[in-house]
Symmetry: C2
Subunit: 207 residues, 2 copies
Amino acid sequence: MARRYEQYCPMAHALDLVGDRWALLVIRELMHGPKRYTDLVEHLPGIGTNILAARLRDLEGNGVVTRRTLPPPAASKVYELTDYGRELRPAMRELALWGARSLGPPTESDELFEGWLANAMDIVMAPRAPAGRFEFRAGPEIASLVDGEVVDGPIGDADVVVEGDPEGIYSLFVDRCLDQVEIRGDERLLDALLDAAPPRIETPLTT
Amino acid sequence: MARRYEQYCPMAHALDLVGDRWALLVIRELMHGPKRYTDLVEHLPGIGTNILAARLRDLEGNGVVTRRTLPPPAASKVYELTDYGRELRPAMRELALWGARSLGPPTESDELFEGWLANAMDIVMAPRAPAGRFEFRAGPEIASLVDGEVVDGPIGDADVVVEGDPEGIYSLFVDRCLDQVEIRGDERLLDALLDAAPPRIETPLTT
DNA sequence: CCGCATCCCCAAAGATACTG
DNA sequence: CAGTATCTTTGGGGATGCGG
């Protein structure tokens, strides 16, 4: 674990627990539910295996993550968040909302790892989404929102289906631009979703 | 600046901007208003001067901080948050609230730097505080809350004055324990403050 | 004094190979 | 599959220097 700040400050203490590099991204992955070591490696492009092992050790020691062995015959180990770890969701949501304001559309160098769409929807839109069945498709990536719950993959009986490339989805979420995506179904309900969970892009990118 | 994550994720992007070690603590200091380089060094015990310079450079490049030269005759340089930087407040508040739940009372090794009380009050209590004039004293450290605004130092005409040592203040804020502090004035108003902005300590420390 | 830059050292991160 | 071992690189911590 990285060195502690040793200041009597709630935020410094929070950073002692989850402020190390990669820690919050590991937690982001575990927000969807328990995952195996290898699953984590796949969803965290660029992380070294030793780093992941170290982070999981630290987070476990800090009471944020627990290690569990699945009952036989599966018998593989999974990592999952503790109750305390799950309570990070509001903080992560605010941080993600803040980041979204200067994120911009995906570029060449951005890794569009499996699950990016579900991740973004879960943390940015899910908490305030209206009731309804939404399905979003960005190339191979498909994620749905059912009454405020994010579901990986397609759903049947969707009220709205949105299809486009990552840039199109971005322009929809951030700029409310409907031109670069194909929309089938209840457009008003989609408007309600965009109204309820706006990424609130107010600040231009400065750099 | 540390290496970027290069993932298309709003949170990963936020961490690219303010996820480096010390960055959020620098921003915490600037939340109260512009500060000079040396003021920052004093309030961030343990930071290397080169690290602080690097962080300020990075944050400036990321559009979170600006550098300004005061008009003569002062002519000294100050750093202050941009509008975008100030918008980090909700994220920092949530993170601090989360951290507060496992912070515990101050220990020997915790540095009780100047301003810790005002900091904690500002980020944890100010956003939901009821109208009223509160003054808190923990040894040499005095901070006040006037209608939801944190003010350094004592105020005249306070509705409530609370006096105690850091442990006592902690037990008041976190455990609602009134025994270790001396309270003068309107106890009901103090109750309202504690109700409105509870640190919500629900999870026991696991380590 | 203020605002850094430089230097040295070590700990953590990255990359890769390998093992129970 | 789930990590450990090993090596290299990079950034942080601490002290000091130095121009404005």
